[in-house]
């Protein structure tokens, strides 16, 4: 079969186009996909490494602070944390000329991550022109304390409108970290109590 020049060119063009398509789908596209995957993975790994470095640096920088926290009473058992917090609250209240009507703590601590939390409910009335000053002083003592304590909730309500007689309720939580292995979850404690009965 003799092909004319035009037919030859058409044939060469068709074969070239098919070959290019085949190369594109069999070689170029898989290559580009693989390359893209590798680049994404590389980017992600670099980010992970960078994050890890930052984390290690942060760990180093937090060591001193952690030691200070331990020294201020973080590492304690429940009874120590409870009595220390209760005692400090009483002292701060007296210092602010506040008579605490009630200081109660929840009997069962709450597990919060590796820590245990004990909540204290403070209830008192403050009367007279100095009532806000007294409340502020107590708040200051709680918020600037060295021991691991945190004010979670505060409710101030006037007893009689138009006077400075105020009813104040505070919920304060104390944090402690029992030595490893001694942490007791609420569920476990409940089970233990049932067994006791």
């Amino acid at each position: 079969m003799v092909l004319s020049k035009r037919e030859k060119y058409i044939g060469i063009g068709t074969i070239s186009a098919v070959a290019l398509l085949a190369i594109n789908s069999l070689v170029i596209n898989p290559y580009v996909d693989t390359l893209s995957q590798i680049e994404d993975q590389q980017k992600s790994d670099k980010q992970t490494l960078s994050d890890n470095q930052l984390l290690l640096y942060k760990q180093k920088s937090l060591q001193k602070e952690w030691q200070a926290m331990l020294a201020s009473g973080l590492e304690a058992d429940q009874s120590v944390a409870q009595s220390q917090t209760q005692n400090d609250l009483q002292v701060w209240a007296r210092s602010a000329n506040i008579n605490l009507d009630a200081v109660s703590s929840e009997p069962v601590p709450t597990q919060h991550g590796p820590f245990q939390i004990l909540n204290f409910n403070l209830d008192f009335n403050s009367t007279g022109g100095q009532s806000m000053r007294q409340i502020a002083k107590l708040l200051w003592s709680i918020e600037s304390a060295n021991i691991p304590i945190r004010l979670n909730d505060m409710r101030i309500q006037s007893i009689r409108e138009g006077t400075d007689d105020l009813d104040v309720k505070l919920i304060v939580s104390a944090l402690y970290m029992p030595p490893t292995g001694q942490a007791v979850s609420p569920g476990e404690l409940f089970n233990e109590m049932e067994d006791f009965q």
């Binding site: 290559y31 290690l56 942060k58 952690w66 820590f115 200051w140 918020e143 505060m154 409710r155 101030i156």
Partner: protein, 509 residues
């Protein structure tokens, strides 16, 4: 001036008993540096090229020839010459025609011959007037391949690089004719024989090899016959004699009936003063002409080493196959590069992952530690957020004697737990910092009395003047207190303590 292709060239005119050598230096007027004759020693001839090569090497060294590029001239005796008329056409077409002619002429001994052609350019004055176009007269020249092979062996042995192999008579005749710019007979007489060519200016139209001039009467008779048969277009026949045998020019001219003119080297356009030919310059004319033939741009007219009539090399592999192979090689090269690039990148990723894996236990421990400390920090916040909130609220409540608070409730959100086994492995320092910022926010509900709804709106507007502290402010349902001029209001908002607000400088009011 155009730069010559070679700076120094050696012209060697081979003979059966001796060879003549001339070294030329390219210049505007080329300089003949050295001229010398090598008479073959007893028992050595051109048929023993290896032995002759050793002798030639010594000869070149002894005579201080420094160049190694040479043009080799061969005598007419070794040639078969046929005059041919070809139609006006370019050299490539003429070469194809002559190749066919040569195959017809020398069919029996074609394999043993090397052939080329020497011809004139189309010239109307000499053409076929009846056709109105110039025909072309060429000489088809062949020599035995064994001579060319011997010359190659000779050159290799003498460490010469042969640029061309051509008839000495063609080189000399062409140069003589072109320098005189007219049609002449050119006779070169040496000890081993004589060569006569009829020149149409630079192109030879006929050539004869004659016996040696030592036996004068037979030589003259042979020469006379040759001269009479060679056609010349001019009215006066002129013969240029390059005499290397000491002939009597006047006597020879009378006996031949032609004007004889003695050739001198300087007439060829060269400076031969340095060569010291001592009156024998004409003897070396052929060697000088051979060297000169490659110093100009036109090159040698005939060259058996690079014959224009050599059959074109057949390409066993078609051109498209070369192109396809080149494309294939390029594609394969690109594929190899791409593959190695992928490998390199994959290795880099593997290295990174290996580093991450090595760090994993340390990083896990660090993450747990940082999360634990970050959580504990919420209980060591050292920031008087509640006091700051009350102070900022006190600032925005107007001292109008009508607006006062009856209830204030402030709640903090429970700090998030990110430590321990439940934490995501992707928990980063940035995430922890963001969580810490969110945990500082307080949620406040304020209830109180004021004069009217507009006063409530005015209070909220005052709060909005401090957008960094008071956010998401919403006015709750309000009511007018019966039988009074007071309005009971409720406002909820988020309070964001400033970073410096808190630390132990909380004011009390």
């Amino acid at each position: 001036m155009k730069q010559p292709r070679h700076k120094k060239v050696l012209g060697i005119a081979l003979g059966e008993r001796s060879l003549l050598a001339a070294e030329l230096i390219a210049a505007e007027r080329p300089q003949v540096k050295r001229l010398a004759e090598l008479v073959y020693p007893e028992g050595i001839s051109f048929s023993q090229p290896e032995e002759l090569a050793k002798v030639l090497a010594h000869f070149l060294k002894d005579n201080q020839f420094s160049t190694r590029t040479a043009v080799i001239g061969i005598p007419l005796k070794w040639l078969v010459v046929k005059a041919k008329e070809v139609p006006p056409a370019n050299d490539a077409t003429v070469a194809q025609l002559l190749r066919l002619e040569a195959e017809a002429e020398f069919s029996t001994e074609l394999k043993d011959l090397v052939y080329d052609f020497s011809g004139t350019a189309p010239d109307a004055s000499h053409g076929d007037a009846s056709h109105g176009e110039a025909s072309r007269s060429v000489l088809l020249i062949a020599t035995q391949k064994k001579y060319i092979d011997s010359i190659e062996i000779l050159c290799e042995g003498a460490r010469l690089q042969p640029l061309a192999v051509m008839p000495s008579a063609i080189a000399l005749g062409s140069l003589t004719g072109s320098s005189l710019k007219r049609d002449v007979l050119v006779l070169s007489v040496g000890s081993g024989g004589a060569e006569l060519s009829s020149q149409r200016q630079s192109s030879a139209t006929a050539m004869r090899s004659l016996r040696a001039a030592s036996s004068e009467p037979p030589f003259v008779n042979e020469l006379r016959r040759a001269v009479s048969t060679l056609a010349l277009t001019g009215t006066e026949r002129e013969l240029v004699l390059w005499d290397g045998a000491g002939m009597n020019t006047v006597d020879l001219g009378e006996r031949l009936g032609v004007t004889i003119r003695s050739g001198e080297l300087h007439s060829l356009g060269v400076d031969a003063t340095e060569a010291g030919a001592n009156g024998q310059g004409a003897k070396y004319a052929a060697a000088v002409a051979l060297a000169l033939s490659v110093l100009d741009d036109t090159g040698p007219g005939v060259d058996f080493l690079h014959s224009r009539l050599a059959p074109p090399r057949e390409h066993r592999i078609p051109r498209w196959a070369y192109i396809a192979a080149a494309v294939l090689v390029v594609v394969i090269g690109i594929c190899i590069y791409a593959y190695s690039d992928l490998e390199r990148r994959q290795k880099a990723v593997d290295d990174l992952q290996s580093q991450i894996a090595k760090q994993q236990s340390t990083v896990d421990a660090a993450r747990d530690f940082v999360s634990k400390v970050s959580l504990a920090q919420y209980w060591h916040i050292g920031e008087a957020r509640y006091l700051a909130c009350m102070r900022d609220l006190d600032d925005v409540i107007p001292e109008d004697g009508q607006t006062y608070a009856t209830s204030l409730e402030i709640k903090a959100q429970t700090p998030p737990v990110t430590s321990g086994a439940s934490s995501s492995s992707s928990t980063s320092v940035a995430t922890l910092s963001a969580s810490a910022d969110e945990a500082r926010i307080l949620f406040v509900t304020l209830q109180g009395h004021t004069a009217n709804l507009e006063s409530v709106t005015a209070l909220v507007e005052r709060m909005r003047h401090n957008p960094t502290a008071f956010k998401d402010i919403k006015i709750g349902p309000g009511t007018k207190v019966p039988r009074t001029q007071e309005w009971l209001f409720s406002i909820t908002f988020s309070y964001v303590p400033s970073k410096t607000a808190g630390t132990t400088s909380g004011q009390t009011k």
